[in-house]
Symmetry: C2
Subunit: 134 residues, 2 copies
DNA sequence: TGAAGGGATGACGCGAACGTAAACGTAACG
DNA sequence: CGTTACGTTTACGTTCGCGTCATCCCTTCA
């Protein structure tokens, strides 16, 4: 299993990001690595958060949206109101992802149809050339 | 059915974008409205393209990527090489969307699990308060 | 001891995707 | 004939998400 604590460079290698990016996320309060003197040290918690950050980006969420959602995945025994608000936010997030999934399915189906059409056209072109040459 | 030809404002209302955005897309060669004197007039073709543009954005593609893909949906009887290149591009696009779909499924499942956990915590809190008050 | 390597901290830069303001055209309405 | 509404062009401004120096600070190792 991987080390419980990693340097910034190890993080960069594992997640394929630059040091600049990690420091940037920290400045934006999405990550909170511990310090050993000056140096940043990333724990498993940081790795989980970074994974979620990159996933969020992939789905088109802004860093600010992601920041708010991150608490979702580290819900501790906080106040009920806090927990409740987080839950509501999660519901919206879920709804958004589900609708995005539906749209994605549509888009995939449409694209496939277009590609079938294109393939048919290519086949037609090949046949024409084939007969012309023979 | 909606008018075959629309002004810039009608387009904005229908697709919830600003005039600036439509002109910007035109400058980037994603849209090609006809002109009546100075005024832009948008045909059904433009509406189809705009819909695809917005969809592409939703899935995290850049305007430049989208521009290249748009030809897919209006493949005419162009050169074979052109058609073939477009087809290859489409395959990549499709692969990307499919992997995005898979990731999205994972993310949805994880989020649901987290929400179940949160809901259990909330229930627990309510019960405590309930017994305390009774 | 000094030179190299890894990390930290500003600070400025940059491309994408528009926002916004200024200045102009023109068509219709009272 | 003025003004109101809608559209156009030009151009500079803005936010996001980092990239890219320049400079500094330890640590280590020959």
């Amino acid at each position: 299993m991987t080390e419980p604590i990693m340097t910034i460079r190890e993080m960069c290698d594992e997640f394929d990001v630059t040091p600049r990016t990690l420091r940037f996320y920290e400045a934006k309060e999405l990550l909170f690595p511990q310090r050993e003197g000056q140096k940043r040290l990333y724990s498993k918690r940081d790795r989980v958060r970074l994974k979620l950050i990159l996933r969020g980006k992939r789905f088109g969420f802004s860093l600010e949206e992601i920041r708010q959602l991150l608490d979702l995945y580290y819900m501790d025994d906080s106040q009920e109101t806090q927990l409740r608000e987080t839950y509501v936010l999660a519901e919206k997030h879920l709804a958004d992802m589900q609708s995005q999934r539906a749209e994605l399915d549509d888009a995939i189906a449409e694209l496939k149809a277009q590609m079938d059409w294109g393939q048919a056209r290519l086949k037609q072109l090949n046949e024409k050339q084939g007969t012309a040459k023979s």
